[in-house]
C-alpha cells in the first residue's frame, strides 16, 4: 500500500534512527503506519517524534490480545499534523509481568488515559505521579472490565474499597467547597472540589467517570452495524460526529470508501451539529454572566436548527443518519431548500445576536481575562478543539487531515492566543460563520450519485483509525476487527478526555462565581469522557 510522501520520509528517518530496534513497520492505510517495538523504546521514540517531528500523542490505549497473540498490546497514536499522517506505536506487555512505564511526567496529556488503562486492564503503572484509580470508583472490586475474560453481564457484588481522598489545600482561612456529582443545572454529573481562600480558587480537583457505562466493552458484544447506533450514544451532543468517526474507522478497516455525495452529506451534518452546539454555548456563556436575554435568542435559534435536523435526518440530534459506507438518507430539493434557508436566516440572526452581546459592556467585562488558559499550558496538556484554538494551539483535523468532503471546500480556522472565555466564545462565533460558508459551498456543488457504498461484512483482524473534527474537537475511534462481522476492540477518544485537566488550570486565581462560565466556555462532555 502506498503511503503519503511526507509520512514516508518520516518513517524512513525513524527506521534509520532506530535501526534494529523496530520489530516491524506496517502500512495500514495511506496516512496510518504501525510501528511494532518493545517497552524500552517507548520513551525514546516518543521524545524523538515530539522533538524532531512536532508530533502529538493523540490517543493511548491498551488491547487485550492474549487470546490471539499471548500478550496485551499498548498503542500510542501520534498525529503528525504537517505530514498529514498518523504513526501508531504498538508495544506488547507480557501477562506474566503486567506493568508498563508511564509517560505522564514527560507528556501530561496522557495522564488520565494511562490511569484508565491501569483500571481497565490491570496493567500496573510504573513511575506515574498520581497512579490512583480514575475510571472505576472505590466501590468497584478488583476487576479489569476490558480484559477478554471479564464477562459483560457479570453482576458485581457490593464492595467498599478505600475511600477516595481529595488532596486539599490547607492553611489559615482556606476552605474546601465540594460540588457535585449532582449539579444544580440540567447537566451531567461530575465532582469538583475547590480549595478557596476568600473568593479566589487556589486549587481545583476533578473527579469524573460517574457516567462510565462500559461503552467500549459493549462495542465488543455487538454486530458491527449495531455499533453505529451505539456510537451515537457516546456523547449525545456529538451523536453524528462519533457515529461518523466510528463508520470511518470501520470503512478504513474494510477498505471501503464512502461515495462523494455521502461524504458531502456527512460534512453538512457535521457542520449542522457544530452550528447548534456553538449557538447553545454562546447563549449559555451569556446566561452564566446573567445576560439571559441573549441566551433566549440563542436557544430560539438552536431550536430552528434542531427542527431542520429533524426534516433532514428524521431526528433532532441527527441520529439514525450515519451508516457504514455513507449515510442513510438522501435529501430532495425541498430539504436542500430548507437547509439553504436555515443558513441564510441564521446568518442574519447571528449578526444581530453578536451585536447584542457586543453592546453589553458588563458581559464583556466578565468574559475578558476570565479563565485564561495560557498557550504554553495548552500545548503541554495537548488541548484540542475550541479550547486549544482559543489558546493558540492551531489544529483542526478538517484542515490537517481532511476527511469527509473537507478537502473540497474552502474555510479558515480561527485561532486566538489569549485563551480566555471571551476568546473561546469568539472561536465559536467565527466557526459559525465558517460553517455557514461550508454548507453554502456544499449546496452549490453537491455531487450526484449514490449515498452509500456496500459494506456487508468487515474482514477480520484488521486495525484502523477513524477520525472526525467534531464541534468540540478531534474525535478518534480505533477498531480491531474480529471474525463474524464483530469487533475485538473499539477505542473511543473524545476531545473532552483530553481537555478536562485544562479546566483545573484555567480556573486558578479566578473567583468561584466565575466557575460556571469558565466551565461552560470549555463545555466538555462527561459522557464522552467517562463512556
Amino acid at each position: 500500500m502506498t503511503v503519503l510522501p511526507e509520512l514516508l520520509s518520516i518513517v524512513t528517518e525513524l527506521q534509520k534512527r532506530f535501526r534494529g530496534r523496530l520489530d516491524s513497520v506496517r502500512t495500514a492505510h495511506v496516512n496510518e503506519v504501525y510501528v511494532h517495538a518493545t517497552m524500552d523504546l517507548v520513551a525514546g521514540f516518543t521524545a524523538h517524534l515530539y522533538r524532531k517531528w512536532n508530533a502529538r500523542l493523540v490517543s493511548f490505549f491498551a488491547d487485550d490480545a492474549r487470546p490471539g497473540e499471548g500478550a496485551f498490546h499498548l498503542y500510542y497514536v501520534f498525529a503528525l499534523d504537517a505530514a498529514h499522517g498518523f504513526i501508531v506505536l504498538r508495544v506488547p506487555v507480557s501477562p506474566d509481568k503486567p506493568e508498563f512505564i508511564s509517560l505522564t511526567n514527560a507528556i501530561h496529556a496522557v495522564n488520565w488515559q494511562e490511569r484508565e488503562v491501569q483500571d481497565m486492564f490491570g496493567l500496573k503503572l510504573l513511575g506515574h505521579p498520581n497512579p490512583r484509580r480514575c475510571a472505576l470508583h472505590d466501590h468497584w472490586p478488583e476487576v479489569y472490565p476490558l480484559r477478554k475474560d471479564f464477562d459483560l453481564r457479570a453482576t458485581l457484588p457490593p464492595f467498599q474499597g478505600e475511600h477516595h481522598k481529595f488532596r486539599a489545600v490547607e492553611g489559615e482561612g482556606v476552605f474546601q467547597v465540594p460540588v457535585g456529582p449532582v449539579h444544580a443545572g440540567i447537566i451531567e454529573p461530575g465532582h469538583f472540589l475547590f480549595s478557596v481562600a476568600g473568593e479566589p480558587v487556589l486549587y481545583l480537583q476533578l473527579r469524573l467517570f460517574y457516567v462510565h457505562k462500559g461503552t467500549e466493552k459493549l462495542f465488543e458484544s455487538l454486530p458491527v452495524p449495531h455499533c453505529v447506533r451505539l456510537a451515537e450514544s457516546i456523547s449525545g451532543d456529538s451523536s453524528f460526529a462519533h457515529a461518523t468517526a466510528f463508520c470511518y474507522a470501520v470503512e478504513r478497516a474494510a477498505d471501503v470508501e464512502a461515495p462523494p455525495r455521502a461524504r458531502a452529506l456527512r460534512t453538512a451534518c457535521l457542520e449542522l451539529e457544530r452550528i447548534y452546539n456553538h449557538l447553545a454555548d454562546i447563549g449559555a456563556i451569556c446566561t452564566d454572566v446573567a445576560f439571559v436575554t441573549a441566551n433566549m435568542h440563542a436557544m430560539r435559534l438552536k431550536e430552528r436548527v434542531l427542527r431542520v435536523n429533524e426534516r433532514l435526518a428524521g431526528n433532532r440530534l441527527l441520529r439514525g443518519m450515519a451508516c457504514l459506507g455513507g449515510v442513510r438518507f438522501d435529501w430532495d430539493t425541498e430539504q436542500l431548500r430548507a437547509l439553504a434557508d436555515l443558513v441564510n436566516e441564521l446568518e442574519t440572526e447571528l449578526n444581530s445576536l453578536v451585536e447584542l452581546i457586543r453592546g453589553s459592556s458588563s458581559t464583556r467585562d466578565r468574559l475578558e481575562t476570565t479563565g485564561v488558559l495560557k498557550p504554553e499550558l495548552a500545548r503541554d496538556l495537548g488541548i484540542v478543539g475550541i479550547a486549544g484554538r482559543a489558546s493558540g494551539f492551531d489544529h483542526d483535523l478538517r484542515r490537517d487531515f481532511p476527511h469527509a468532503f473537507y478537502d473540497k471546500v474552502q474555510f479558515t480556522v480561527p485561532v486566538f492566543s489569549e485563551g480566555d472565555v471571551q476568546r473561546r466564545m469568539a472561536v465559536r462565533r467565527e466557526e459559525l460563520y465558517q460553517s455557514f460558508s461550508i454548507i453554502r459551498q456544499l449546496l452549490e456543488r453537491l455531487p450526484p450519485g449514490p449515498i452509500c457504498a456496500p459494506l456487508a461484512e468487515v474482514p477480520p483482524d484488521r486495525t484502523a483509525l477513524g477520525y472526525v473534527e467534531g464541534w468540540r474537537g478531534e474525535i478518534f475511534h480505533w477498531v480491531r476487527t474480529a471474525p463474524g462481522n464483530r469487533l475485538a476492540r473499539c477505542k473511543i477518544k473524545d476531545p473532552s478526555l483530553q481537555n478536562w485537566p485544562s479546566l483545573s488550570e484555567a480556573i486558578l486565581g479566578n473567583i468561584v462565581p466565575d466557575f460556571p462560565v469558565v466551565n461552560k466556555s470549555f463545555n466538555l462532555s462527561y459522557s464522552g469522557t467517562d463512556r
Partner: protein
C-alpha cells in the same frame, strides 16, 4: 438596554401554542414504530436488525410470541426498512404511567419455514381483554397528562418542581430537557419548574441507565427529597437500562 428591548420586540412571541394546537413535528420525523400486527408475517428480520432488542420473539410449542418494547426503542427506523409490516410514525408522544403499557405482545402460529401466519392473541384480535392493556394510543399522552395533573394538583397544588439527575445518560436527553426551558417550549407556563436542589423538588427526573458510579448519588438525591415525591424515567436508557428497577422506588411516568 434599548437594543435588548428592540431585539425582543422585533422577535415577538415564539412560544408554541401546544397543547392548544398539535406539536409541530416534521412529517419526516421518526417517532413511534407501528406494527401491522394482524398481517405481520415474520418477526425475525425486525428482531435481527433492531440494535436494542426492542423487537424480540420467542418460539415454543409451534407458537411464536413477538414483542415490541417501546421502552427500548431508539426510533432508528431500521426495522421499517426491512419489514413492510412495520411503519415509522411521526408520533413522538409515548409517555405513560405504567411500564407495561410500553410493550405490546402478540402470539402467532409458527410455520415450518420460520415465518408465522395466523395471529392468535394480541392487539386487534377480538376485544382487548382489558382496555388498560391496549398499546399506547395517541390519546394516552392526554390521559397521562390528566392523570398527572390530578395527582399533582392533589399533592402539589398547581405547580410541579423537578430535580433532574443524569444517572449515566449520553447527554442527548439533557439537550432536549434543557430545550423545554427555551422560549419556544417555555415549560414554566404549565407551572413546571426545574429546581437546583432535591430539597425543593416534587419529582425526580432520571435519565440514563443508572451506572454503578452514579447509583449512590441518585439514591442520596431521592432520599433528600421530601415526600410526597414522584420519579419519572426519561429516554430509552432511563426506561429500560436494567438497573433502574433495583435502585429507585416506583416510577410514576415513563417517557422513552
Amino acid at each position: 438596554m434599548f437594543e435588548i428591548l428592540r431585539a425582543s420586540l422585533k422577535t415577538g412571541v415564539v412560544t408554541t401554542r401546544y397543547p392548544a394546537t398539535p406539536a409541530e413535528v416534521s412529517s419526516r420525523a421518526r417517532g413511534r414504530p407501528e406494527i401491522d400486527w394482524a398481517n405481520w408475517k415474520d418477526a425475525r428480520p425486525g428482531a435481527t436488525i433492531c440494535p436494542t432488542g426492542a423487537i424480540s420473539y420467542q418460539d415454543a410449542n409451534g407458537q411464536r410470541e413477538a414483542k415490541l418494547d417501546l421502552a427500548k426503542c431508539i426510533f432508528c427506523g431500521l426495522c421499517a426498512e426491512v419489514d413492510g409490516a412495520i411503519r415509522m410514525t411521526n408520533n413522538c408522544q409515548c409517555a405513560t404511567p405504567r411500564r407495561d403499557d410500553l410493550s405490546t405482545r402478540a402470539t402467532y402460529r409458527l410455520r415450518g419455514d420460520g415465518t408465522h401466519d395466523q395471529i392468535l392473541t394480541g392487539p386487534l384480535v377480538g376485544q382487548p381483554r382489558n382496555p388498560e392493556q391496549r398499546p399506547v394510543e395517541t390519546e394516552s399522552l392526554e390521559t397521562l397528562g390528566k392523570q398527572i395533573k390530578q395527582r399533582t394538583s392533589k399533592l402539589f397544588g398547581r405547580s410541579l418542581h423537578i430535580r433532574e439527575v443524569d444517572a449515566g445518560s449520553c447527554n442527548g436527553c439533557e439537550i432536549e430537557i434543557v430545550g423545554l426551558n427555551s422560549p419556544v417550549y417555555d415549560l414554566e407556563r404549565f407551572g413546571v419548574h426545574f429546581v437546583a436542589s432535591p430539597r425543593h423538588a416534587d419529582m425526580l427526573l432520571v435519565t440514563g441507565p443508572v451506572t454503578r458510579n452514579m447509583e449512590l448519588a441518585l439514591k442520596k438525591t431521592y432520599d433528600a427529597m421530601p415526600p410526597p415525591r414522584l420519579v419519572a424515567a426519561v429516554g430509552a436508557c432511563g426506561c429500560s437500562g436494567g438497573s433502574l428497577a433495583s435502585t429507585t422506588p416506583p416510577v410514576a411516568a415513563w417517557t422513552p
